[in-house]
């Protein structure tokens, strides 16, 4: 017997209901107003060019001695880690008594086109680390890298192991040639030199489209069909629009940095080979001898779990911990499951290591 149990009147009603919900949705959207993001109080402690180093206001009475610096990716914006009340990894880390700093790379423009990985990692990032070390009168701080920021943190920790006490990486690509890495396949045959020489900075819009095209029917279609069902609830619609704002808030990428990252990491997979060149230095992950906590997401469509898990075989530390999160690349920061799991796990792991 055919597996269709749908009556004709139900089909008509379903389409009519869809249409009326869509029509009513415009009223909900008009009531939403400005979308606010970034819930935790913070203040800038250092600015350089377009980069700003923030320090979050503590939420716990007793602060841990070693501060934690969060290194975000160059793509998209860091408020994803602090999206809204109750959906904020940073809030969770502050509640656990951590003294949290965050690097916001800003929006590069054409004047930043010749910024290189060396400028970002041995320049901006290193100066932020030095500033925090001096401010707290300590030799080494804790680092937490997010996605590409995790890759930057790995490079930094390998080049400056004397400044990093503990390293936490989250959904961080390490092996860029694992199976099912669509992003890597897309860039594999692109003439990156021609691309950068032609475009200068790489437009954020192009990166947006690239990420969405990894799962186009779900991310550019089904997601909005789900939204139609939410449009009668202003708060739910606001939450959706908040995520939407983050997804399409994409800074352009400094051309030279993109060139280096796409070629050395994505095309040549040099990180796992110990051959990434940052300025005059070669990155050897064996230099990472401090404790490492590597968190990855099981359903990550941007950074396949295997890409992150490869870290274990590359680092020189004998204190390596991995944590698998049952969710996706974004869910690891914003889902309610993540709020209960990730910040407490990070805080507990750091506490055990001083």
């Amino acid at each position: 017997m055919a597996p269709f149990q749908i009556r004709p009147d139900e089909v008509i009603q379903e389409v009519q209901k869809f249409n009326s919900k869509l029509a009513q949705g415009i009223h909900t959207l008009s009531e939403i107003g400005d979308i606010e993001v970034g819930v935790s109080a913070k203040e800038p402690v250092y600015c350089e060019d377009k980069m700003v180093l923030y320090r979050f206001k503590p939420r716990a009475r007793k602060l841990k001695k070693i501060p934690l610096l969060i290194v975000y990716a160059l793509v998209n914006r860091p408020y994803m880690a602090d999206l809204q009340d109750g959906r904020s990894m940073i809030q969770g880390l502050l509640d656990a008594g951590l003294d949290v700093y965050l690097i916001d790379w800003g929006y590069p423009d054409s004047a930043d086109r010749y910024l290189t990985l060396d400028d970002y990692i041995n320049g901006y990032l290193d100066r932020c680390v030095d500033l925090i070390r001096e401010k707290h009168g300590i030799d080494r701080i804790n680092l937490l890298g997010i996605c590409q920021g995790g890759t930057f943190s790995l490079c930094y920790s390998a080049l400056h192991p004397d400044k990093v006490k503990n390293l936490v990486t989250t959904v961080t690509p390490v092996d860029f040639h694992t199976k099912n890495d669509l992003l890597s396949l897309m860039v594999r045959h692109v003439d990156v030199d021609l691309l950068v020489d032609t475009l200068g900075n790489i437009p954020g819009e192009l990166l947006n489209w690239t990420y969405l095209s990894l799962k186009p029917f779900r991310l550019m279609g089904q997601k909005y069909m789900d939204l139609v069902d939410m449009l009668d609830d202003t708060e739910q619609a606001r939450n959706f629009m908040r995520m939407e704002k983050w997804i399409f808030d994409s800074p352009d990428q400094a051309g030279e940095t993109f060139r280096e990252f796409a070629k050395q990491f994505y095309q040549e997979n040099r990180l796992v080979k110990g051959a990434v060149q940052i300025g005059e230095h070669t990155v050897d992950l064996q230099n990472i001898t401090m404790p490492v906590l590597n968190i990855y997401a099981m359903q990550d469509h941007l950074v396949p779990p295997d890409s992150s898990k490869a870290l274990e075989g590359c680092v020189g530390t004998d204190d390596y911990t991995s944590l698998e999160f049952p969710g996706g690349h974004i869910g690891i920061y914003v889902s309610s499951k993540a709020q209960k799991m990730i910040p407490p796990a990070v805080a507990s792991w750091l506490s055990k290591r001083g």
Binding site: P3, V15, N19, V190, L206, G274, A275
Partner: protein
């Protein structure tokens, strides 16, 4: 299950409804509504997809008063809605056919196969409204990268992505061999060659587009095959589809499966790379032509600005390096001015001085470099870097 009004008509099948007529009634209702709105645009024609037309009509009516920021978003929502209407129409036909069969017969499988084949034919033929809608489903808001790539890259040149849009490869082939082989002559020889090169590059890009289109059209066919397979599996497992939304979700799952199967191949990687590279070549050539024109007018060129920006960044790096060196020297001088006893005590206690940091940095670099390069080369490089630092200190 409650009996529907349609089911009460025992003399005929509940699926004996005129889908298009129902949609037209719906659109008429929208039209009646819009009569009360003087800003509403007039509808004088009817197309084959009145549901979509009704929603378009509604949006044109309300959009002037809608918040500006919501326009793009709502337009996308309406596009996705059209996919929903398309599925409704296609599957209503299928369900109508099934209802006429004996419920327990195996004939539904043949009917399903026929319907799937019909959808494939629409895809293959594709220029009527139904075909366009199916292509729109494949497109899923710019699934094909061409629109986005062209829009993005248009800003890189005064000659936008569509300036040679009408020159298609099939037309080009007739003229290119002859035209492009004619050598440029006379005073304008150079510009003739530039135009020939632009046309040649555009032809390569158009071919890459065709190859990409041809390969991606397979995704839709594979999606339908996947749906066919899954519906048969559901039947074997005793599962049921109970709403249009469930059919839509099944379509999304199958589309993603077919898309992932295609994009996970080396063929896709090569096609995508070829497509991007060929478009970049067109854009870069266009930019070079513009640069030459600007240069002739003694105006700033992209090339010249690049040079300035590159030099500026190099200067900033050198300045940073010099600043660090000055700080180190200042600390060294400060230490020398201290009495010997304080110097000894300070030297033992200072945990995070710039001096110590610099030493740490060198140590890390030395460790990593040692593994990869001969010690002599590393020492030479360091010496060169040091000499450069010294030179900049003198400059400042």
């Amino acid at each position: 299950m409650a009996e529907s009004p349609v089911n009460k008509k025992t003399s005929q099948s509940p699926w004996d409804i005129d889908w298009l007529e129902t949609q037209r009634q719906y659109m008429d209702a929208w039209k009646s509504f819009s009569r009360f709105n003087p800003a509403a645009p007039d509808i004088t024609t009817r197309n084959e997809n009145p549901w979509a037309e009704a929603m378009d009509h509604w949006w044109r009516t309300v959009s002037p008063s809608a918040p500006q920021g919501s326009h793009a978003f709502m337009s996308k929502m309406l596009e996705q809605g059209k996919v929903f209407y398309m599925l409704a129409e296609q599957f209503t036909r299928l369900l109508n056919g099934m209802d006429q069969l004996n419920k327990v017969s195996e004939g539904w499988e043949d009917l399903l196969r026929q319907q799937i084949e019909e959808m494939k034919t629409l895809l293959a033929g594709g220029r009527d409204s139904a075909g366009e809608a199916w292509h729109g489903m494949l497109g899923a808001w710019q699934l094909l990268p061409l629109d986005t790539l062209q829009r993005t890259f248009s800003s890189a040149s005064l000659m936008p992505g569509d300036f040679l849009q009408d020159l298609k490869p099939e037309a080009l082939e007739k003229v290119t061999d002859k035209f492009l082989s004619i050598p440029g002559v006379g005073y304008t020889r150079e510009s003739q060659e530039q135009i020939q090169e632009a046309i040649r590059l555009w032809g390569i890009y158009q071919k890459a587009c065709q190859e990409y289109h041809s390969a991606t059209s397979r995704i839709c066919i594979d999606t339908l095959d996947c749906m066919h397979r899954r519906i048969l599996d559901m039947n074997e497992q005793g599962k049921e589809l109970r709403s249009l939304r469930e059919i839509y979700d099944l379509w999304v799952d199958c589309s993603e499966e077919a898309y992932a199967a295609f994009t996970g191949t080396e063929e896709f990687s090569e096609l995508y790379g070829h497509l991007t590279n060929s478009l970049m070549a067109v854009k870069q050539h266009g930019r070079n032509i513009i640069d030459e024109a600007l240069s002739a007018l003694n105006m700033p060129t992209r090339r010249g600005i690049n040079t300035m920006q590159k030099r500026q960044q190099e200067l900033r790096r050198d300045w940073r390096s010099a600043l660090n060196r000055i700080r180190q020297l200042e600390e060294k001088i400060g230490t020398l001015h201290q009495p010997a006893a304080a110097r000894r005590a300070g030297g033992a206690a200072a945990p995070a001085t710039p001096k110590k940091r610099a030493a740490g940095k060198k140590k890390a670099a030395a460790t990593t470099t040692k593994r990869k390069k001969p010690a002599k080369a590393t020492a030479g490089k360091r010496k060169a870097a040091s000499a450069r630092d010294d030179m900049i200190v003198i400059k400042i």
